[in-house]
Amino acid sequence: MTILKSLIYVIILGFIFCDANIHTQPEQNKIENPRVIPEHINVGPFFKGLKAIVNAEIPKCAGVIVKLIGKNKEMVLNMKGKKAFIWLNVAQVTVTNAPSIYLLACSNKLDELCSDAEQEKELLGYNSLKGRINYESNKPLSGIESEEFIKFKEHNGNYNINNKAVIKTAPDGKQLLDATLEIPSFITAENYTVKIYCFNEKKLIDKVAVNLSVEEVGLPLFITNLAKNSPATYGILAIIVAMIAGGIIGLTFNKKRVRKN
């Protein structure tokens, strides 16, 4: 009986020990406490874009990538081409399946961090984007659209890849992520997802998502709503304000002139 009891205790202890191992082992490969600072952006009258800091406790890995991606937006663009010896708009191209904003912060070069297949799957880097964006035109396309579109978006600040993701070691030995995303002033008010990826030997160890909300407040919100919901009132208001301002300044200058004379 005593032997049987001892056996049961051993089995129970074994289970407890194994269970603890099951719980602690995967946690070593997990990204913990991810957060974006600030997690809520208010777009007010003096908003000029900001640097969002992404922090997390990360497992030991070769490198990290932080990604902020906006919703897909259709765009109609003019494309220039050479006719005879002059550069003109030769086609109108409709671009679909392209994210409105695409920001990436990496700790190392993208190709050193993850395989092509992983890049493709997780939409990491411009090459993965190029394959997904569609171009349609009434004129035959020349094949340089992908390259030119990325160049166009980078030039406007909508797309950016930087190396501002840094891995630090805390005094207690924990690995900490500190990444910076440059949020442009023209970010659309909507909810975004910031994703953190950890890679080791070009394989994905873990990924987590954090929410980032952008909202217009105060005067910008009032003006946007008025312009969209009551365009006639807004148009008349814009004219009246302009005429009053112009008239007042015109009369003020004229009075000064009369006094001088």
Partner: protein, 317 residues
């Protein structure tokens, strides 16, 4: 310290001082020459990152303020020929409507961009060169001689056979005297010229001030100071219409952007009007001609050199 302001419709943040400076510079030109400045300010706004459609629409809104200010200033000095401006406006509205239809046809055939660019270069080239040559010739000549020659020309013209254009002007019905401008012509002339300018303005996508000014000076023979005031009055009415249409149909008027620009431009317009009183007409024409030629050269350069970006935002020409 640089203070940034968020433009809600444009969706971008720009330095207030940069916008004020742009407004001041363009308003100054507006007051000096009676041109709206749209052909200068819109490309500058695009250059600093404002979306093209918002730049064009908000520019029209700020021109409403600048031209109100300019019209008030010139009107108080008796430099606005409202009667002539009214007939030019009728023509401008008809011409603008025709021009928009013409652009639609050209777009369908795929030649719109070529025609627009070519029209710009030809118009700017002709106007700029003609104004520059004539004004420079007058500046070089002593004043007495100019008066003598112009008197001689008038008497010669009266004695000899009048030119075909003058004959045509005189033979047209509905002859009216325009007191402020000091000319007697048929109302058909300003309406017809207004139509031509309206078509060109619609094709080129501008208010038409810089075409209308030379038309009034050289074809309607109006005095330069009345031309400036009348042109501003005409621009005011045109831009009120454009602002409302853009706000109503496209929601592209950014009132914050327009307000900052107009603050600079209205003050600039007053300063411009003051300077225009001190300069003589030929000096003003030389400066305007040089500006027009500079814009033309920049356009030709843009057509010949490989652009940095092949894509640009569509929807406007």
């Amino acid at each position: 310290m640089n203070l940034f302001i968020y433009l809600p419709v444009a969706g971008v943040s720009v330095s207030i001082f940069l916008l004020l400076g742009l407004g001041l510079a363009v308003g100054f030109l507006s007051g000096l020459f009676g041109v709206g400045g749209g052909f200068l300010l819109t490309p500058l706004l695009i250059m600093i990152g404002i979306p093209p459609t918002v730049a064009a629409a908000s520019d029209s809104n700020q021109i409403v303020a600048a031209s109100t200010s300019g019209t008030v200033a010139h009107g108080r000095r008796g430099n606005v020929d409202f009667k002539m401006g009214f007939y030019l406006l009728i023509g401008g509205v008809i011409g603008g409507t025709l021009g928009v239809q013409l652009i639609k046809i050209l777009r369908a055939t795929g030649n719109a961009d070529f025609v627009i660019k070519l029209t710009y270069i030809v118009m700017l080239g002709i106007i700029g060169t003609y104004m520059f040559q004539e004004s420079l010739r007058n500046l070089k000549m002593p004043r007495r001689r100019i008066k003598k020659i112009s008197r001689m020309r008038v008497s010669e013209a009266e004695e000899k056979k009048p030119s075909k254009i003058l004959q045509l002007y005189r033979s047209l019905p509905f002859q009216t005297h325009f007191e402020k401008s000091g000319v007697t012509i048929s109302v058909i002339t300003p309406v017809f010229l207004g139509i031509l300018v309206g078509i060109l303005a619609a094709i080129m996508g501008v208010g038409g001030g810089f075409i209308m000014v030379p038309v009034m000076v050289y074809m309607l023979r109006m005095p330069m100071h009345v031309v400036v005031g009348t042109s501003l009055f005409q621009i005011l009415v045109t831009c009120i219409n454009v602002t409302f249409m853009q706000a109503y149909y496209n929601q592209t008027v950014d009132i914050v952007l327009a307000l900052i620009l107009l603050l600079g431009s209205t003050i600039g317009a007053q300063l411009g009007a003051k300077v225009s009183d001190r300069l003589n007409a030929d000096q003003m024409k030389v400066i305007l001609a040089l500006m027009v030629l500079l814009v033309m050269v920049q356009m030709v350069y843009g057509l010949l050199v490989h652009p940095e970006l092949l894509f640009s935002v569509g929807g406007s020409h």
